[in-house]
Symmetry: C2
Subunit: 336 residues, 2 copies
């Protein structure tokens, strides 16, 4: 089938607190044999995402934990080079959960076909994939922004945040992004059209800076980070504010339950809604979401921002970089 | 008009932390003169409610703060003894915001007529009034309990909690109440039909006791108290749980922002909804709510529980008792 070898990134040990490179090891293996119903995918792009940190803990959650000694898995896209399935054939491009490896043997029924002529295949992991759908449904179904309202997004320069802010602009809102570098803030304001951006790492008084950026208060807070950034935003919410709760990256590496102010009284007196969500709960509407996102992308209303590193051995660093705030836009690893 | 004197409870000073009797003083005054559009109400029942603690702070909120030196005001019901209004006349019973005093001069347009033949007039301050409507709309519009689901209510023996649990039983749910004495737990289980009750003051492990009482997890948590009770319940919520956020009595007397575990990750991974509300946001549906509550009351499906003390001079103690957990059901003061 091919004489090439397969490079895999193995989950070497569970992290305690912030993960480091010792959590990963690289192994060379043979190309896997296919079982009936599987296809062999030559992987082109791997996605690294903050939620994967949760899978590194040995704890029951909405998705099973990674097992030490096994290859890590995540969103990926590539080309089928061999098939033992009726529906998918050699040459097809497919997206889905795959190992962090050059060649993945995957059950065909878990994969989605990707049309490489519609958009670059990498978009199936970003703006037309999980992060795009997360932004789309979280903002529109839970945040329900109305024209002229103020939308604040934290983690604004990330894969989800960049899309949330742009959709809010399409909906006619005032958009304020919170991110962790001046380069990110420049990008949000000058490339993506955000009205204001706040660098939380250099702000002397985050609440005061937010208040200045949101003279009419906060109607929607798209919450990606948690921690002290959220504490500041919550104090500025308007009556009937909506808070789609998408991520808590500030706490993902905590070894103990983090503590902070009990700000339920703000939610109570302002009749505000806080709703946790996972993109999968909207799976029956993915088609609608992708169609709209692709249309906005084609019309130039949405800009696609990817941060791509090359080489499968770079994958652990790309993942670890998410927690250092290194990426602007969707972080991908190109391995073919 | 009448030769009687008027006894008033004056807001004597703002509390710092837990209020005490020094926050109140009693004054004898003349019966107030009526302005055009006002009526003079001989007050029969005064309502004392936890939310009034917030009005004792000099802080902007959804309702204006009390002013030191002025008569305290709250929900009350009584009989009109003089009128300078076209619509309301002597002999009518009315409910609304009135001073803590025997005779209140009130703008007629802020009052609601009460029919004393339908139900005892005190119910207009309890099961057919603000607490009843709070329970009704908070549970049904936000909690949306479905048959066989598990509903947990904190502050379960209070004015709102007793009604929440009974409505949840009408809807076919498993109902678990959390309250602060064995007497209250007995009442909830044996008189109101709650499935389980937990005395948080004697529980050695609240989370373990809750887990045992909720073998299928928690689908709706009607949140009246905040603090460590909520911390325990939140860890047991099911996917798509709903949390109507009605009160935070554990924190009302805090002098600093209370801190506690950041449990947003539970809301996120379980796709749960937390929604603050004030009963006033449902005011356009009050008629529907009162009609249904009155029907259930008449059918014997809802039991009305009032805790009545007599004498206007008892009002401060009745109010202070709310924070000591002294009342079962709606706390009222009968002053006529």
């Amino acid at each position: 089938m091919t004489s090439k070898k397969n490079t895999q990134i193995i989950f070497n040990k569970r992290p305690v607190g912030v993960p480091d490179k010792d959590c990963f090891r690289i192994e060379e293996t043979d190309i896997p044999e296919l079982l009936e119903g599987q296809v062999l995918v030559e992987v082109h792009y791997l996605s690294v995402d903050p939620y994967m940190r949760g899978r590194m803990n040995d704890r029951k959650s909405y998705i099973a934990p990674f097992q030490v000694g096994e290859v890590l898995t995540g969103g990926a896209v590539g080309k089928i080079v061999a098939s033992k399935d009726q529906a998918l054939k050699e040459g097809d491009y497919v997206m889905g959960m795959m190992g962090w490896e050059n060649f993945a043997a995957v059950a065909a029924k878990g994969l989605t076909k990707v049309n490489p002529d519609l958009a670059p295949i990498s978009t199936s992991l970003g703006i037309l994939g999980m992060p795009g759908l997360t932004a789309y449904f979280g903002l529109l179904e839970i945040g329900k922004p109305k024209e002229k309202e103020t939308v604040v997004v934290s983690g604004a320069a990330g894969a989800v945040g960049t899309i949330v802010g742009q959709i809010a602009k399409i909906k006619g809102c005032r958009v304020v992004g919170i991110a962790g570098s001046d380069e990110k803030i420049d990008y949000l304001k000058n490339e993506l059209g955000f009205d204001e951006g706040i660098n939380y790492k250099t702000s002397q008084n985050l609440r005061a800076d937010l208040k200045a950026a949101c003279p009419n208060g906060v109607d929607v807070y798209f919450e990606n980070v948690g921690g002290e950034i959220s504490d500041a935003v919550i104090t500025l919410i308007n009556n009937h504010a909506r808070i789609p709760l998408c991520g808590q990256i500030a706490d993902y590496n905590s070894t103990e339950m983090p503590v902070g102010p009990r700000w339920q009284s703000y939610l109570l007196t302002r009749m505000a809604l806080l709703q946790g969500f996972l993109v999968g709960q909207f799976s029956d509407k993915y088609g609608e979401g992708i169609k709209q996102l692709a249309a906005w992308l084609k019309e130039g209303k949405l800009k696609n921002k990817e941060n791509i590193v090359e080489g499968i051995e770079q994958t652990p660093d790309a993942f670890l970089g998410l927690f250092k705030g290194e990426n602007i836009g969707k972080q991908l690893v190109k391995i073919k």
